[in-house]
Symmetry: C2
Subunit: 336 residues, 2 copies
């Protein structure tokens, strides 16, 4: 089994270049979504405790299988630990053997940004320039680069409830070439934006975007509302715009639309990527990507990483599977 | 995250000694079964294809979470690959961080043998000496050592449909101190045995044990019938004896009892380990452990291994989680 450590993931991303990576990864995601019907779409498995959740997110088609392990522990922050860590495995369906174990904390940020920007490429108006960002935490830089690579965004208006987080963002993006303005309110950040990305972490600030902040023709990329009880958008926005999701049954439970009636109309993005349905209807329409994070994006990320680690020869080998001279002689391993 | 490779698993087993290991591991399993009500008991996740299955088997309590990845690909044998490979992860529920990644191909054989022998210790008659074994494949040696460690079995009568497999068993056990007889039929192998272990792999020989082969007072350890469409015992045996299982809902689908009516009485082993129910009623009773392999045994194995790798200092470290100076600055990893 090939193994990509966190350190090697960093090497790989820097070697490819983050914008090239976003463009290439988006192609893998699009390709997998275009094969939507061939994928297993089981719900994620969740082990809940008082302080957090540990999840397994499996999916696969006839060739490859993947799963991601990911936790969510808001209280980790106060212990100096990450609130979300993740790793994933890609396997060969033909033999059942694992092919790749990869870190996916960075990987998850990459795939989340890639599908956000890919979706915006299909749904936003042409010639977008400015993105308003509410929330400048762990996802923010990845989102910014993905949007520049895929949609041409080059101007960022950023607001975070914690000013230090905005400063962190500015520092990380100092040599990025973006035109960046740090704003004092969310209202200010989204003023005149072509695209709005909401990406906040805390459950207690549940309405970071209200209807009056959203102008005609905007595309909203709603990342942070991704589990039951955690949403970011006021319901009036959902009613005014057209809502697009990854996988409807999951989004009805975890997404912004968890507050909406069951018959509230949404469109799954695979229809758009396949050209089966139209995305944006006109320039004035508000389009909303209600993103929750679906296992298929992780599959695409692992498939991409598996190709790239071999191309760039950046990986280690783990002998997690013992090699037997005779497949029926497992005990023989202990005798050598 | 600590990592135990296949090579280091071999080192660990040999360092502890396989019979000591079986005795200690059985204690961990018993302890976890005694805390039965605190464990999540979700069904396994399965990704099926024409040639095999890939499964994820998760469970956990308030302190620890585990899952096992395991495949089943009968056709791998003809490619010189193992039909079953496995690995597992143990995590800290408090933080969601993974603690241990371990090979579990050997691990699965260890935990299967340990619960078999532990169960027999509770259900078989006293002073057992002779075990008849039908099937001498990958599980056989592990079963033999576990039964000696936990029940005192020292005489083995072994039959396998493939004589070469019996020879492999004999070769592996040459210096084991067991009194071993290789038999020409299953009937011959179980003649006069105190315990019968059935552990065959092939679906097409579905009735390896018929009612006339089973004498009064025997304990039957039925390992091989462990998925829909794969059983080893004739139904008359189940009707004549008392059947014990790991987790009833799973065993009704995967175990020997899949052919029996829904109201066919079985007893879950945790009741026996907790002393809530009586196992064997009298010396003449036939007791049957209809084993399918439950996630809780994997949890116990990983918990045991995690303790032992630290005690014996046999492991490697994997930096699958990047260390952040500021938990909110994931992108900072790419800048260093």
């Amino acid at each position: 089994m090939k193994y990509l450590s966190a350190e090697n993931m960093v090497k790989l991303v820097n070697r490819i270049g983050i914008e090239t990576l976003m463009t290439e990864l988006a192609e893998y995601i699009k390709e997998d979504y275009q094969n939507w019907d061939n994928f297993d779409k089981s719900p994620r498995y969740a082990h809940h405790s008082d302080v957090g959740v540990i999840e397994l997110m499996p999916t696969g088609n006839r060739e490859l299988f993947s799963f991601k392990y990911v936790n969510g522990h808001p209280g980790n922050f106060n212990k100096g630990l990450q609130t979300v860590v993740a790793f994933g495995v890609l396997s060969d369906v033909e033999t059942g053997y694992p092919l790749l174990l990869s870190e996916m904390t960075i990987g998850t940020a990459l795939r989340t940004a890639a599908i956000s920007a890919l979706t915006a490429k299909y749904l936003a108006n042409n010639n977008v320039k400015t993105m308003g960002m509410i929330g400048a935490g762990c996802q923010a830089e990845f989102q910014a680069y993905a949007f520049r690579a895929l949609t041409g965004i080059d101007t960022l208006r950023v607001y975070d409830i914690d000013y230090k987080v905005s400063e962190k963002f500015q520092r990380n993006m100092a040599d990025s070439g973006f035109d960046i303005t740090v704003c004092k309110t969310g209202q200010d950040a989204v003023q005149g934006a072509d695209i709005i990305t909401t990406c906040t972490a805390d459950k207690q600030y549940a309405t970071v975007l209200t209807d009056n902040m959203v102008g005609q023709g905007m595309h909203i990329n709603a990342i942070g509302g991704d589990c039951p009880g955690k949403t970011e958008l006021h319901q009036d926005i959902l009613k005014r715009g057209s809502v697009f999701v990854e996988f409807e049954p999951q989004s009805r439970i975890e997404g912004e639309i968890q507050h909406m009636p069951e018959d509230f109309a949404v469109t799954e993005m695979h229809h758009i990527f396949k050209g089966e349905k139209q995305g944006r209807q006109n320039e004035r329409e508000i389009t909303i990507f209600d993103s929750v994070g679906f296992a298929l994006q992780d599959f695409s990320l692992l498939r991409y990483v598996y190709d790239k680690v071999r191309e760039f020869d950046i990986y280690e080998d783990l002998d997690i599977i013992g090699e037997l001279d005779d497949p029926r002689n497992l005990f023989g391993l202990l005798k050598n």
